[in-house]
């Protein structure tokens, strides 16, 4: 056996756990979903090929449009607020103050709380009458606080608020990023007479830009898969007036409640293409504003 072939065999053997899993659990299923997306398949009878019928139905399905809009609205509300909050907190936590480790741990701790538990706890906190949030609001003089989860207008905002409880994950990533920015850059900026705003704008944010890009991409992927929190928090699944009915929830219901496996598969492929498209778009838009500090 030649050296090259021996290396190939060794390489394929060592990496086998991953590529076997890739073939069986990712590539195979991707191909299967693509095929099923062209079929009518209820699990009880073998799939029947129907061409583009599922995609045609998606185009005119009002529920599909609704979940699409809801998911986009959720992402549009959640991603910017979370990004600003995470960067702001990271900047404060990066300052040399006493108790820093405690503050960091306190804000990070909710991220380890399982989503189901978080959903249950927030259902209580946001309960219209007995919940803590409205109790506090009434004490500060809000006569008729929102019904939160039961109100079509506030349900989405409530979910975004709950999602912000998990700001700890991007926050510690930004914090690590801040610590990689060379201090000399700040010193140079101050010597040039940069104000605090100028330092933020010209040193901190450019220094963080690769991490902002990373967190944006992760957030986009996560926003399109939001499932567990709304699934737990709204017992009547679509939420008030379907205000918290999301893409993945509808896909899940089509697949495992309505047994419309073909339709769900079409939704899966549309979701994949949307995520790839948005990720590509994010990279393209950011190509000029992301700066890599050479290390």
């Amino acid at each position: 056996m030649t050296r090259a072939r021996r290396d190939l065999v060794a390489g394929l053997l060592w990496t086998a756990p991953w590529w076997l899993g890739f073939l069986l659990l990712t590539a195979g299923p991707l191909a299967a979903t693509l095929y099923l997306s062209f079929c009518d398949y209820s699990l009880l009878q073998p799939p029947v090929f129907t061409g583009l019928e599922n995609y045609r139905q998606l185009a005119v399905d009002p529920t599909f449009r609704k979940v699409l809009v809801n998911t986009v609205v959720y992402a549009a509300l959640w991603i910017p607020t979370m990004t600003v909050l995470a960067i702001g907190l990271a900047i404060l936590l990066n300052r040399p103050i006493r108790g820093q480790a405690f503050f960091r741990a306190a804000i990070f701790v909710p991220t380890i709380v399982p989503l189901v538990a978080a959903g249950v706890v927030w259902m209580w906190l946001l309960a219209p009458e007995s919940g803590l949030v409205n109790e506090l609001l009434r004490r500060v003089g809000v006569a008729s606080p929102p019904l939160w989860l039961e109100s079509p207008r506030w349900a989405m905002i409530a979910l975004v608020m709950v999602s912000l409880w998990f700001v700890g994950t991007p926050m510690v990533i930004y914090l690590a990023g801040l610590q990689e920015i060379p201090l000399t850059l700040y010193e140079a900026a101050r010597l040039d007479g940069a104000s605090s705003w100028g330092q933020l704008r010209h040193v901190t944010l450019p220094g963080l830009s690769p991490i902002i890009l990373f967190n944006l991409v992760v957030a986009i992927i996560n926003a399109w898969q939001v499932f567990a929190l709304p699934y737990v928090m709204w017992r009547t699944r679509p939420g008030p007036d379907r205000a918290t009915f999301f893409y993945t929830t509808y896909l899940f219901e089509n697949a495992f409640t309505n047994l419309k496996m073909g339709y769900a598969s079409a939704m899966g492929w549309v979701q994949l293409l949307i995520i790839l498209g948005l990720t590509g778009l994010t990279f393209w838009i950011s190509r000029r504003s992301v700066h890599y500090v050479s290390q």
Partner: protein
């Protein structure tokens, strides 16, 4: 790529805005952080508080119960076969959240899953880091790209596959896939292996040690910090997972904690809040303890995931 070293918390960093050193700047930082930390911890405090309240006190918003009781916890410790009777003499249907059983199931899934995840991911990561073979870079690029694939697009065929194998209703679909590693963990460990100097390995190989021997006796022990991170984050993932159990489990005796709480919350007839909070507390406390013991590894793990992306 350089590895970030753990940063000391009290260093000279943090000159932003120029006024950090001024008393007002300090004060503003303190007040904001204290307020946010308090707000972020409140839900957990009330979760514990409500779980300890007797039925009459649930509607009060006070944090501390006036007459603390473990009644809610006792309900969750009563096996399903044992019908209990409430204060008014009505029989109470068995709880879908029988903690000892759910905890046992979740622990078994977590152990089987973490074992496979750590072993398989590190083997594949070693292959990508140390063996130069044709097509390696393409394969690794594919591995990275798969991280973007959302689970919903895979769940229908995975369900069909596991159904063919007769695994639906068992816990195998929850831990079996972990034995193929995951793209993210392969990536994380590969970056770690790449950072380990070659010399150690070369010496061992020249001494006649096999590749496997090098991996097992030299690389794995050196990679312990990274393996800890992978194991911790994966335990958290298993503990947290709702979609998997929802799709793949069908028999109550195999349910996990997350699924059990989901059923407790959504069953017809209201489950009292103290019971729900007790169940939530029982799920949170084990991971909380894990976090307190391994805080540094947790935060470092999450932080490095971003720096290396």
């Amino acid at each position: 790529m350089t590895r970030s070293t753990p940063h000391s918390t009290a260093d000279t960093r943090g000159h932003f805005f120029g006024r950090t050193r001024t008393p007002t700047g300090q004060f503003f930082t303190y007040v904001t952080l204290a307020l946010v930390a308090l707000l972020w911890l409140l839900p957990l405090a009330w979760m514990l508080g409500v779980s300890l309240k007797p039925a009459e006190e649930i509607s009060s918003a006070a944090l501390l119960p006036q007459h603390p009781t473990l009644h809610a916890y006792e309900r969750l410790m009563a096996p399903a076969s044992q019908t209990t009777i409430d204060a008014t003499g009505r029989p109470v249907e068995p709880t879908p959240f029988y903690f000892p059983l759910l905890a046992r199931n979740t622990l078994i899934v977590a152990l089987l899953s973490v074992g496979g995840m750590v072993l398989s991911s590190s083997i594949a990561a070693y292959g990508f880091a140390r063996i130069r073979f044709p097509g390696r870079d393409i394969l690794f690029a594919i591995c990275l790209a798969t991280m973007m694939i959302p689970f919903p697009v895979l769940m229908v065929p995975q369900y069909l596959l596991f159904k063919q194998l007769g695994w639906i209703g068992t816990t195998i679909p929850l831990w079996g896939p972990a034995w193929f590693g995951s793209a993210f963990n392969v990536f994380l460990l590969r970056q770690f292996f790449v950072g380990i100097p070659y010399e150690l390995e070369e010496a061992a190989l020249l001494d006649g040690c096999s590749r496997w021997g090098v991996f097992w006796r030299i690389m794995l022990p050196l990679a312990r910090p990274a393996l800890t991170v992978v194991a911790l984050l994966h335990v958290l993932y298993v503990w947290n997972d709702l979609v998997g159990p929802l799709i793949f489990l069908s028999r109550p005796e195999t349910y996990t904690l997350a699924l059990g709480l989901q059923f407790l919350q959504s069953r017809s007839g209201d489950t009292p809040w103290n019971e729900l909070m007790a169940a939530a507390t029982l799920i949170v406390v084990p991971v909380l303890i894990l976090f307190l013991f391994a805080q540094r590894a947790f935060i470092r793990g999450v932080a490095t995931s971003g720096l290396k992306g």
